[in-house]
Amino acid sequence: MADKLFGLIDLNWRFELTKFKLIRNLFKSRWFPLLAIIFNLFIFVIILIAGLIGGFSAGNYNFGIMIVWILWWVMLMFILVPIFSRAWCLMCPFPVFSDWLQRGALFVVTGLKLKGLGLKWPKALKNMWVMNILFLVTTFFSGFFTVRPLATFILLGGIILLAFLIGLVFEKRSFCLYVCPVSGFQGLYSQFAMAEVRRKDPEICKNHKVKTCYVGNECGYGCPWMLTPFNFTKNTYCGMCLECFKSCPHDNMAFNLRPPGVDLLVDEKRGLDEAWKAFIMLGIAMVFFLTMQGPWGFLKDWVRGTSLKGYLTFISLHTAFSLLVVPAIFFFFSYLSKAFSGAKEVSLKKIFTNFSYTLVPLGLGVWIAFSVGIILPNGSYILHIISDPFAWGWNLFGTRSVPWTPVFTGALGHLQGAVLVVFYLFSLAYGARLSRQTYPAEEQAKRGWIPILIFLTLATLAFLWLYIG
């Protein structure tokens, strides 16, 4: 019998968008996604200039701050990740310089031999830990780069430079795969996405002796993310660069729409690094809400660094909460799960790791609800800054004088509440299935699921209280 999400949607349902000639041709063209990358590069040049000349001015009237931390962030959490997976990676301009250097060309395929030192990334670091730590450390400066144009310039400039340097030394997209602070949470949450890149017919791949999707050919480069597209099973590390569409001589790659969250049930490469990414994201969401959407002035002073003592207190508490407290609470409920289940043969590590994926839908919901609270009150500033990106008195689109106008903020509580409830439902739906994967027997799975279900309920209530209570 088909396994149906909420008894309604067959988890095996797929709708292939690349069966439409227009989309298939677009994906196979070398102009795509390069044109999107070049367009974003242009936008990021404006962002960097605005950041540099904006200096220490108030961020709400700065192009860089508004586009990156209001528009881009919200687009990422609202649309790109939950619907299109790593669609941002597809069009991200940060690694374009190292790609150019390695390939010696921007548009055409120059050959299979890439330039640069091409070193292998250290095996011990082939996981999400570097990204986890880098993202957490980046948030230490949230009180600066989300409001100070110059801080945004330094952050983005630093990331672009780091991407380039790592591209010089290490092979292909090692930076995207193992370092980029934005990559980790996109990978984690893209497991929930409603789109995927997958092979169509496994037999074709099996009989295709030269795996051109991996090694490349005259039409496309071998997977820059060093994956094997012929056996993709989950979205986490696929950067959607679309090279496999170009290099496959059999047109055997597909871009599918699918039910949200199905990757959460793929028991492959689950690990503590991804588990901690889920905890860190929940911790950061709570800290960001307290400091940005909460009314407590002393917390804002801490993150702004008005005193060294306050700033260090913020960093210490934030780190301890995200890296230790959240995982410790979850560990306690995992321990209860094992105890309730009575399944002595199942390791606590497996229970802890497997159930951590229940935090993916809830975490995404928490971030979407947080982002609603950012875009609705502050979105109108974007109309101002697109007309006057460098604060030079321009009025390019006639919107420079549009006053600050909060939109639908009266309904904010309902929107945030509804989002949390919907994603809580997804967490429960997948959590029960994960329990069945974790424990060998149905009854054990039922009993072992209850403590985790209670944890998810309490976590949802905690965020509800924080956001609207």
Binding site: M1, G7, G417, E442
Partner: protein
């Protein structure tokens, strides 16, 4: 097999309908609850980069709320989400607001005048009790959670 699938699907729909209906009934009853002793409430609020003191104002639905806004440093605003009303204050020049708190829930108060780098995050809360919004969604979450545990007794874990 097919009829079994239909039954399960219908069962889910029934559960969802029951939860939705229950939640709306609770919410409706809450909304119909008459305000408790509507009174006039006065608050003197001091604004300073980037917070208000007091930072949370709690009133009952139906109360008449009078605000006196004082600024301790630069020009600050005071915009109330959901009510769409605002005032502002310069140092030495106060602002005032008067409104009837007829909408229950927690509403964010925002600075409406760019006052510095952290301005977009200068917020306070107006809590108009009872906070029916929060209790509505909390009740839904609890009903779903308890319902999920109860249904474990009668049905298989998948599907």
């Amino acid at each position: 097999m097919k009829s079994h699938k239909v039954t399960r699907s219908q069962g889910h729909m029934k559960s969802i309908r029951a939860i939705t209906l229950f939640s709306f009934i609770v919410y409706g009853l809450w909304l119909m609850t008459p305000p408790v002793e509507a009174a006039e409430r006065f608050f003197e609020i001091k604004a300073k980069k980037f917070s208000y003191t007091p930072n949370i104002i709690t009133v009952n639905r139906g109360d008449t709320v009078k605000i006196r806004l004082l600024s301790e440093d630069v020009h600050h605003g005071f915009f109330v989400d959901g009510y769409g009303i605002k005032t502002s204050a310069h140092p030495g020049m106060e602002g005032s607001l008067k409104f009837i708190a007829d909408k229950a829930g927690r509403y964010t108060v925002r600075c409406s005048v760019t006052c510095g780098e952290f301005h977009p995050y200068m917020v306070g809360y107006l809590v108009v009790g009872p906070n029916s919004r929060f209790w509505l969604y909390a009740a839904i979450v609890l009903v779903i959670g308890i319902g999920s545990i109860l249904t474990l007794r009668v049905k298989k874990i998948n599907g």
